[in-house]
């Protein structure tokens, strides 16, 4: 790091990395419990922007009467093919209605039918799980973010934007702070904290669609600090229009929309006569991929079965979605009138930090909340993220407060270590030479390695092995050559480093899971492992490299037995028994 870089030192009781839904809720709850303590939220994006929630429609899942937590839990055990941490999920579901009521109290309205009842939309053909849409379709998430930020402002919570944190500082096995830099001023930051919450969001591959900020540094930093990760084999493959972004399909399918192939066939009804098109995009994109591979693409979105009265819920009314829709209509791309082509696209990783119900990780003083911790095995129901990020954020605010009450004062920072970490973070800044690469060049090659359908959707061993070789080559030959012309590009460069980290673990974990289950489809292992559901955790091996640990799901100890699996609704391949016969 150049000697003229200004170094800012900030002390705080609680440091929260990430001001998205989870981070804002954590700050809110901690502040309610310990208003005398200093809370600091640091975000690599704009101060107070609210993370992905700002772009979210505002659909929210909550267990409201007459539904019960046990009914929803039973749905999710089935939906996740058994890969459901039942005590954790039960705790989240039990708190979901309270967070929805909080939002209502904060002035965020949910959609009511003309007879005054809350509108709900059932999800993925599940008996009970459903979402409650925001009143202002297109601005619901934005209003939620604003309502939380307003509270934090009033409470005097410190919020800082445009600062990317690159490393945690660990002393005697406890996280005591973090370092990073401001992407506009280029100044360095050293934070000292009593407790730290990682609310840094998911890993991902910068596929636009509102998802260029989740890139996985939070996971990488936590792993380097000693935390464990899990569920890296699950990624979110989304179906999206080839040319533009569209938000709101979680409403369209339950109400009758469907994809058709070049021959006009509603192919999902062939792959799942029971569920048809009304399922998770994970399964829809497998169907799309098989159709396109068989030469029956392109895939067209067919909204003709929708009823006119449902259109009010579907056509964007406000926010970015309305602006987007109006502009697209002018280009002759009216989703409700014109035939639009849709494609499957890998977007973000469902992997995350492994954490207990209270958000605690393997490292003392480090807690994880929201999508930074892994919560679902690659299948997802609309409204789940806003609920789980609110609930886990709220819970972790409580855990951090309880922990700080009992913990000794944080030990002093090791300044030498902080400076060494900063030196490493700044090293690519101003790097020159004929062989340097821009972060974008390397990003494009990482995307090209993992996007192909046989790596991202219908996975198979040889394709994954080839992708791994390419990622290892990029890591060895290209990451060290990346250069940042200024502090803006230094941020992008660290994001690309994290994308490489997540890409490698995604492929390794996908090779490790030799079965098909929940959001992981292996064409060469097309059935569920008869040994039952298990998780793969990732921890540091003896040589420091990632080591996978298989842990069986202890179904015998838990409430809901695994009597049926969602996977069994699909016939992408021959059933196991037919294959044997």
């Amino acid at each position: 790091m150049k000697s003229d870089v200004k170094i800012n030192k900030v002390e705080t009781d609680l440091l929260i990395l990430g001001g998205g839904s989870a981070g804002l809720w954590a700050a809110h709850r901690f502040n309610e419990l310990m208003p005398e303590r200093k809370v600091t939220i640091v975000d690599k994006g704009p101060q107070d922007w609210g993370g992905l929630m700002t772009m979210a429609g505002g659909d929210f899942e909550a267990v409201l009467p007459p539904d019960t937590v046990d009914e929803w839990l039973t749905d999710l055990v089935y939906y996740f093919d058994g890969l459901c941490d039942q005590p954790l999920m039960e705790a989240l579901l039990a708190r979901s209605a309270d967070r929805m009521r909080d939002y209502e109290r904060f002035g965020c309205e949910f959609f009511h039918t003309p007879d005054g009842r809350l509108k709900s939309v059932p999800q993925r053909g599940l008996p009970h799980v459903k979402l409650y849409p925001a009143q202002q379709k297109g601005r619901g998430g934005e209003l939620m973010a604003k309502s939380l930020v307003a509270r934090l402002k009033d409470a005097g919570v410190t919020r800082m934007g445009r600062i990317m944190l690159t490393d945690y500082l660990v002393r005697d096995g406890r996280v005591v702070g973090a370092v990073g830099f401001h992407c506009r001023t280029g100044e360095a930051y050293i934070f000292k904290a009593g407790a730290v919450i990682a609310a840094t969001g998911m890993g991902g591959w910068k596929t636009s669609y509102g998802k260029n900020t989740p890139t996985g540094e939070g996971m990488q930093m936590a792993f380097e600090a000693g935390a464990e990760l899990q569920d890296l084999e699950f990624c979110r493959v989304w179906n999206m229009p080839r040319l533009f972004a569209w938000e709101g399909q979680t409403h369209l399918f339950p109400l009758g929309a469907r994809f058709v192939n070049r021959l006009g066939e509603n192919f999902m009804s062939r792959y799942s006569p029971i569920l048809g098109p009304n399922t998770d995009p994970h399964f829809t994109t497998i169907g799309m991929a098989l159709e396109i591979r068989a030469g029956r693409g392109p895939i067209i979105f067919d909204v003709s079965p929708l009823r006119g009265e449902d259109m009010i819920l579907l056509k964007p009314q406000t926010g970015w979605q309305k602006l987007n829709y109006d502009k697209l209509c002018k280009l002759g791309l009216d989703l409700f009138k014109d035939n639009t082509e849709w494609v499957p696209q890998m977007t973000v990783s469902h992997g995350g930090i492994r954490a207990g119900i209270d958000g605690s990780t393997a490292v003392a003083g480090l807690f994880a909340a929201g999508t930074a911790r892994s919560l679902e095995p690659g299948v997802y129901a609309g409204g789940f993220a806003l609920m789980t990020t609110a609930v886990t954020g709220h819970m972790v605010g409580e855990s951090a407060a309880a922990w700080l009450k009992g913990a000794d004062a944080a030990p002093a920072l090791n300044e030498g270590e902080a400076m060494a970490r900063l030196d490493r973070a700044y090293a690519p800044l101003g790097r020159t030479g004929a062989d340097t690469l821009t972060p974008k060049e390397v990003l494009t090659r990482l995307q090209a390695a993992v996007f192909p359908y046989d790596v991202s959707i219908v996975k198979n061993g040889p394709a994954l092995t080839k992708a791994l070789a390419e990622i290892e080559r990029i890591k060895a030959e290209e990451l060290p050559r990346m250069a940042a012309a200024d502090s803006h590009y230094l941020l992008k460069l660290h994001e690309v480093n994290a994308i490489a980290f997540v890409s490698e673990l995604y492929v390794r974990a996908s090779l490790e899971r030799k079965e098909t289950r929940a959001g992981h489809f292996r064409e060469d292992y097309p059935h569920m492992d008869p040994a039952g559901p298990a998780w793969f955790f990732i921890r540091h091996g003896a040589d420091g490299s990632p080591e996978f640990v298989r842990e069986r799901v202890p179904l015998e100890k838990w409430k809901v037995p695994l009597t049926r699996c969602y996977q069994d609704n699909f016939n992408f391949v021959e059933p196991r028994d037919a294959a044997k016969a």
Partner: protein, 81 residues
């Protein structure tokens, strides 16, 4: 992707520069907003919506990415040109 910022209409309030999650926009030396780093724009429209003077124009078409089906022709739903 971000398309243009009309310098004549921009009143230099900085709202778009403050809100862009990807740090694509910056204030120029003439105190007007400019597209400084277009390569990571995610077509989120936050800048255009924040602009009080209608100076920002975001094109709704998203960035072209490496293909999911490198070997299938575009007309059959793939990514091979």
């Amino acid at each position: 992707m971000i398309k243009s910022i009309d310098r004549d209409t921009c009143i230099g309030c900085g709202a778009c520069v403050r809100i862009c999650p990807l740090d694509t926009l910056r204030m120029g030396e003439d105190d007007k907003a400019c597209i400084a780093y277009p390569d990571d724009c995610m077509t989120c429209f936050l800048c255009e919506r924040a602009c009080p003077s209608g100076a920002v124009d975001v094109d709704p078409l998203r960035e072209v990415l490496p293909p999911t089906f490198p070997d299938v022709p575009v007309e059959l739903g793939g990514g091979r040109a």
